[in-house]
């Protein structure tokens, strides 16, 4: 348990992705089965222990220490799990060794409500503060250590020197503590064969069209279709087992029962999940957000925000894996097979006819529907290959929106950027022209070069008004301020932001040293962009 606790403590404070990958891979390399497998399950959200609730832990500690001293402690630390882990009285019984992670996971898995308090107290007695914290987080769910399931799988791939796609493809057929997976990754056994059905197939991704890319390509080799602004998903049905996966292979079936209920064909589809009803209405991304990140979904939600799948590709039909076929052939089969599915839940992504890049450029700039965010280009002869190969597929997005905003606050970055003010909150003007005020509309921490970062960092240090820990407020008034041209993909209404809007994917596109702060944009300009 100590190794797992150390790993969590270290991961949560390590900002860099590569640093996290190394910590994880080293852990998998040096910790034996079954502990490492249970750690993997904890990191990928594969463990759930319903018997342990925070209120029970509260009761346990109140039986062990003065309420007033606990209140002072909790007030100071702010986090219940952390407070309990720190104030839990140390046991002087050095006879019993601390439990291994596997012992803890197996104990928690069998735990009933009634016996939970005694068992948990017994475990806490045998652990040190850091391991107590890990136990409480593990038992109550939600490690929140900044490691996604995908990152954990990438660390596995690095550890076993395999492609992450191979691991993702196997993943849903495996169970904790994943001993067959580790044996294969260490070269001690064959690749595990899964008996599970409706497995995830790693998705194929596109490169953005770069400067000069298109001139080198023959338009005749490519088919084009609209790029819809929903989320990319994969729907799989095999022997009646139905699953919906996110782009990264997370099983999101539970949130979309309406779609899966009407998915009655043995196939694996690649498409865009959207809200609405094909042919009648295609909803915006903010409509879709109502349905995202939910474990369960209410009847009201299902009625107000029904989802459907706009199909791009067909990966498997019955026992036939179609991924090696050319795109044009897969598309033809998809077109033939789709009528078998419910027309309220599934439709075909329409192709965009074009004879040359200029014509396509014209169509990209003037899409026929507001929920289109660009076009996709797919080589007609391209096989479906996991990952992001260069050449067969391109995404050519609509030009971003831009706004001129004024820098208001700057925060120090993390890791390599910890000595730079690199995260910027910016605002636009509102109120009367003779007494305008800035209202924050977003935050961005990339889009600039290293040289530009140095310049902004110096500007922030030279124009600081106030300091709040790692944040500085920067002089920002009509006669004095730094104007940032901010690019973003779209705008949503937001009740959580003072300005009433939230930007999607904002980044700094240019530094406008030349532009007087008073000439930055006004909030009305942004409000006019809100679609509905």
């Amino acid at each position: 348990m100590q190794r797992f606790a150390d790993l969590l403590d270290r991961l949560v404070l390590t900002p860099s992705r590569n640093g996290k990958l190394r910590l994880l891979a080293d852990y998998f390399r040096t910790v034996p089965d079954p502990d490492r497998g249970y750690a993997l399950a904890a990191l990928t959200g594969g463990l759930d222990f319903p018997a342990v609730k925070p209120a029970m832990l509260r009761t346990l500690i109140s039986e062990r220490m003065d309420e007033v001293l606990f209140a002072y402690s909790y007030d100071y630390v702010g986090d219940l799990a952390e407070t309990i882990s720190l104030v839990w009285p140390a046991s002087h019984d050095s006879e019993t060794p601390p439990p291994a992670l596997s012992e803890i996971v197996e104990t928690l898995a069998r735990l009933g409500r009634a016996e939970a308090p005694t068992v948990i107290a017994g475990l806490l007695d045998r652990l040190d503060p850091s391991a107590r914290f890990a136990l409480i987080k593990l038992a109550t769910g939600g490690l929140r250590i900044g490691v996604s399931a995908r990152l954990a799988k990438q660390a596995l791939a690095a550890f076993g020197d395999r492609d992450v796609g191979e691991i993702e493809e196997l993943w849903h057929g495996l169970e904790p503590p994943y001993e067959t997976l580790f044996a294969w990754l260490e070269g001690k056994a064959e690749k595990p064969v899964s008996a599970a059905r409706a497995l995830y197939r790693p998705v194929m991704l596109a490169h953005p069209v770069g400067e000069g890319d298109l001139e080198k390509l023959d338009p005749g080799d490519y088919a084009a279709e609209w790029k819809w602004d929903g989320i990319r998903v994969q729907a799989a049905c095999e022997d009646g087992v139905k699953r919906l996966y996110s782009r990264t292979g997370d099983d999101i079936s539970g949130a979309f029962p309406d779609l899966l209920a009407e998915f009655d064909a043995e196939m694996t589809l690649d498409g865009e999940l959207l809200v609405g009803n094909p042919g009648l209405k295609t909803g915006t991304f903010s409509d879709l957000q109502q349905r995202l990140n939910r474990k369960t979904v209410s009847k009201k939600m299902l009625a107000e925000y029904p989802v459907f799948l706009r199909c791009y590709d067909l990966l498997q039909i019955g026992d036939d894996d179609l991924r090696a076929l050319p795109f044009a052939e897969r598309r033809a089969i998809l077109q033939n097979e789709l009528p078998a599915l419910s027309e309220h839940r599934f439709d075909l992504s329409p192709m965009v006819g074009f004879s040359g890049w200029e014509e396509l450029e014209e169509k990209r700039r003037n899409p026929p529907h507001p929920v289109i965010e660009g076009v996709m280009l797919k080589r007609r002869d391209s096989a479906y290959v996991p990952g992001r190969p260069k050449g067969p597929w391109f995404k050519w997005k609509r030009d971003p929106f831009t706004v001129d905003a004024v820098l208001m606050y700057a925060q120090r970055g993390h890791g390599k950027r910890s000595s730079y003010y690199s995260d910027y909150t910016f605002g636009v003007w509102r109120g009367p022209d003779d007494a305008p005020e800035l209202v924050p509309v977003g935050k961005a921490y990339f889009g600039f070069t290293d040289e530009e970062l140095k310049l902004i960092d110096k500007y922030v240090r030279d124009n600081t008004v106030e300091r709040f820990g790692p944040v500085r407020s920067v002089r920002a008034e009509p006669g004095h301020g730094l104007v940032l041209e901010v690019a973003f993909e779209g705008l949503n209404r937001s009740t959580r932001h003072k300005s009433g809007v939230a930007m999607r994917f904002p980044r700094i596109s240019r530094l406008r040293w030349d532009k007087p702060a008073a000439e930055a944009d006004r909030l009305e300009t942004l409000m006019a962009l809100l679609a509905d």
Partner: protein, 336 residues
């Protein structure tokens, strides 16, 4: 004589009327007794200063030879009478030269702890409990959440990280008096023999410690040579914590911020300061040390100062010991 008549707080600091002196005054006074060399306790500008020889040396290093008009050294355990008040200094285990100050008159003895700790520390004399009627205790870590772990285990987390991330410069933030030398000493005890790079602000004090017979091994200036690529990769650099987030760190290879402090027990503290590797290493007593020490002094009354007074007062109440907070101002309980 009531305790209050022997010692009580004034704006300038803790004052003894019959002896007409202050303990660790925060403003210039006629006569000052100084517990230890940290800047919030030992200030320049008093007329006469009484302290241990090492504390006087440290004050001279920091403020120059003219930090006071006159100075007098008192060895641990030695007694001195000031206008009928007997004072003596006793090891506090906090930093080199640190002392508790016992003040005694008419059979009443008050001990002002200054800052202290009970964990073993090879860089200074260990704390000696002194029986007294009133014990004035610090309370920097006066909450049950603060239980400091074994220092050598903490330092091993640093050497392990150095092995795991050999391409990165490990910058250890540690206060220049006491903590820095303790970190270096612990690294040596853990078997780390490589030269340790130190920030310029640490040089004088490290030299002084070495002159006092404390072995710190080979130290080198962190910023000596210019134009080195990958400077500090796989090396330990000890610097004052104020360098975190400052431009000084940019010269090193992908700096990894390490902070050696008792505050690192609280995760949010580490997060706020951008610390990647927190080491829970303190020169102040933790909750268990504070409460054990209060018992050992057998004091009937406890005055609590700088820190989380309310929790220690509560503990004293629960254990039948009279206690009250002593609202002294001017000490930085955050500086650790």
């Amino acid at each position: 004589m009531k305790p209050h008549d022997l010692l009580h707080p004034r704006p300038a600091g803790l004052y003894c009327p019959p002896g007409d002196f202050y303990i660790d005054p925060v403003r210039p006074v006629e006569r000052a007794l100084i517990t230890h060399g940290h800047a919030d306790h030992a200030r320049a500008g008093h007329r006469h200063v009484l302290a241990t020889g090492q504390t006087l040396d440290i004050m001279e290093l920091r403020y120059g030879a003219d930090f006071a008009e006159s100075r007098q050294a008192l060895a641990y355990g030695e007694k001195l009478s000031i206008d009928g008040v007997t004072v003596s200094f006793h090891p506090a285990g906090h930093v080199l030269g640190s002392a508790q100050i016992a003040v005694e008159a008419n059979g009443l003895r008050i001990v002002a702890s200054g800052d202290y700790k009970r964990h073993p520390d090879a860089t200074c004399a260990p704390f000696e409990p002194v029986r007294c009627d009133v014990f004035i205790t610090e309370a920097t870590f006066g909450l049950p959440v603060f239980v400091h772990p074994d220092p050598l285990n903490e330092i091993r987390r640093l050497t392990a990280s150095l092995a795991q991330f050999p391409e990165r410069a490990h910058i250890v933030g540690a206060y220049s008096l006491g903590k820095a030398q303790r970190v270096i000493g612990l690294l040596r005890a853990a078997g780390h023999d490589a030269p340790i790079l130190i920030h310029g602000a640490l040089a004088k004090l490290c030299n002084y410690y070495q002159g006092q017979g404390i072995k710190l091994g080979e130290l080198a200036p962190a910023t000596d040579e210019e134009g080195i690529v990958d400077r500090g990769a796989g090396q330990i650099i000890v610097a004052p914590p104020s360098v975190f987030g400052e431009r000084w760190t940019r010269r090193f290879a992908d700096p990894l911020n390490v902070f050696a402090s008792g505050w690192m027990r609280i995760r949010q503290r580490a997060r706020q300061r951008g610390v990647e590797l927190p080491l829970i290493l303190s020169d102040h007593a933790d909750w268990n040390e504070l409460t054990a020490t209060i018992r050992e002094t057998e004091a009937g009354e406890v005055w609590v100062t700088h820190g989380r007074e309310e929790a220690i007062v509560r503990w004293c109440e629960l254990n039948g010991i009279a206690a009250r907070p002593l609202n002294l101002v001017g000490y930085e309980d955050e500086a650790e």
